[in-house]
């Protein structure tokens, strides 16, 4: 598959080509770092019946290998896009309407944010007081978030995403 998300190899299977390449309305998350698609998909709050297609370890000129997610009839919220950016800071997000790209965004991790993830420090005050955590991004590669309260640095591999955000 090339960077457009079209997989020539899959053309042998007509049904498969339709599912992967033609999105009438929805979201394409492209240029996910290889190996992050499953995790990124899991933090989205998709309706149970929402069709979603994942491509993993696809060839990419920019990244070498990449993952891609296509979601039919669902547009990501700002919070969901921010979560994806924390998992895979090089990703791009395209909103598809009427089979064409209505909006394309290069995702970047937020500089500072409230919520999205919870502090992994069990003795952080945020847990006992029942408040949402506040974080700033301390480094970008790998993405590392620092808790504004307890100072704990959390790397992307260890992010525990809020379920209700």
């Amino acid at each position: 598959m090339n960077d457009s998300g079209r997989d020539p190899g899959a053309a042998r299977n007509r049904e498969n080509v339709y599912e992967v390449s033609k999105l009438d309305r929805g979201t394409v998350i492209d240029h996910l770092r290889a190996g992050t698609a499953v995790r990124a998909a899991s933090v989205l709050r998709l309706p149970p019946s929402c069709p979603m297609m994942l491509g993993v370890n696809l060839e990419s000129e920019r990244l070498g290998r990449k993952d891609i997610i296509k979601i039919r009839h669902y547009e990501l919220s700002e919070e969901e896009a921010a979560k994806v950016a924390l998992i895979s800071p090089d990703a791009t997000l395209s909103i598809i309407r009427d089979f064409s790209v209505a909006q394309k965004i290069d995702l970047h991790p937020p500089i500072a944010f409230r919520g999205l993830i919870r502090c992994t420090n069990d003795v952080c005050i945020t847990h006992s007081e029942g408040i949402r955590g506040r974080f700033f991004v301390a480094s970008h590669d790998p993405v590392t978030a620092a808790c504004e309260y307890c100072g704990r640095h959390i790397t992307a591999d260890h992010f525990e995403f809020e379920k209700n955000a």
């Binding site: 005050i125 307890c150 640095h153």
Partner: protein, 313 residues
């Protein structure tokens, strides 16, 4: 940038990284002025000390500082004496106490407690230790002691030894040493190694540091040895504590390799990590360090409440 007393009025003291080098030096200069001060600039002021966790030096030196400057202290020395036992959360407690006092001293076992408290009240909040996170006033005392004992703050070689993982005094001091071009040696068992975020702070601030397993060989070029206790209260497994509690002991034999000018600091209390025979050595600065705490805390209280200028220069 020039610093004045006005820069401190009404501020919270949550972490040392909230302060610039010039501000820290201003505080230390003010503390020197307050060492023998007997005036009453805090007359009519009420300082609330909420200590949810045990403390001797920090609490008593603050109480001494308040008393010597003519102020009044209220508060409690353990969580059991507060409404926390009835289930009150911290944010409610500090909002109530705000109405009773002009400044809030807070020690709490949970990390980030002081930052959270400061979000809920308008009076200054001073972090007197939040779990294993930060202990900024101890750091000011440590820096004051280093300058008093070594005659300078810049370019010191500081050796940290013991529990570098849970020791909040270590975490606070490490985070500020970059401002003073320090060289750092870290001596600890691997289980009690300095956490990654603090090593990252050293690296990102360009501090030259190394990790060493052996205390004795680390002392030859050291200006300051910062000894720490392995803290039983931070271990969930008592066997693990037993395993590490006596890893390092500073005695006269270990001190043979030390340079003449070495100053030994310790946030205290000590258990076995410094042998009693070291107490009489000129290197031993830890009791003087505890006493300097009063002057530093007098200066800090007076600056935060905007009354430092009432003490003659």
């Amino acid at each position: 940038m020039r610093v004045s007393e006005q820069d401190f009025v009404g501020r919270d003291v949550i972490t040392v990284s909230d302060f610039r080098r010039e501000e820290i030096l201003f505080l230390l200069d003010t503390a020197a002025r307050f060492e023998n001060e007997t005036g009453t600039p805090l007359a009519g002021r009420v300082i609330a000390a909420l200590f949810f966790e045990a403390s001797t030096r920090t609490r008593l030196s603050f109480e001494s500082a308040v008393g010597r400057l003519g102020g009044t202290s209220i508060g409690f020395a353990e969580a059991g004496a507060s409404s926390a036992t009835k289930g009150e959360n911290l944010s409610d407690t500090v909002r109530v106490v705000e109405g009773y006092s002009d400044l809030l001293l807070l020690r709490h076992p949970l990390e980030g407690a002081a930052r959270l408290a400061a979000e809920f009240v308008d009076i200054p909040v001073v972090n007197c230790g939040d779990g294993a996170h930060q202990h900024p006033t101890q750091t000011f005392v440590d820096l004051y002691t280093m300058r008093r004992e070594c005659g300078r703050l810049d370019g010191l070689h500081v050796v940290f030894c013991g529990d570098l993982r849970f020791g909040r005094a270590v975490h606070s001091l490490v985070s500020v040493l970059a401002l003073f071009n320090a060289r750092v040696t870290l001596v600890s068992p691997s289980f009690l190694r300095l956490p990654a975020e603090h090593r990252h702070t050293l690296e990102s601030n360009g501090v030259i540091y190394n990790e060493a397993p052996d205390l004795e060989s680390s002392l030859a070029e050291a200006d300051v040895l910062y000894m720490t206790r392995v803290q039983r209260e931070r271990f969930t497994d008592p066997l693990e504590y037993e395993r590490f509690k006596d890893t390092y002991t500073l005695d006269l034999n270990v001190l043979k390799r030390a340079s003449d000018q070495l100053a030994i600091l310790h946030p205290l209390p000590r258990v076995n990590e410094i042998a009693r025979e070291v107490d009489g050595q000129s290197h031993a600065a830890y009791f003087r360090q505890a006493h300097y705490g009063v002057a530093v805390r007098k200066a800090l209280l007076a600056l935060l409440l905007g009354v430092a200028g009432e003490v003659p220069k």
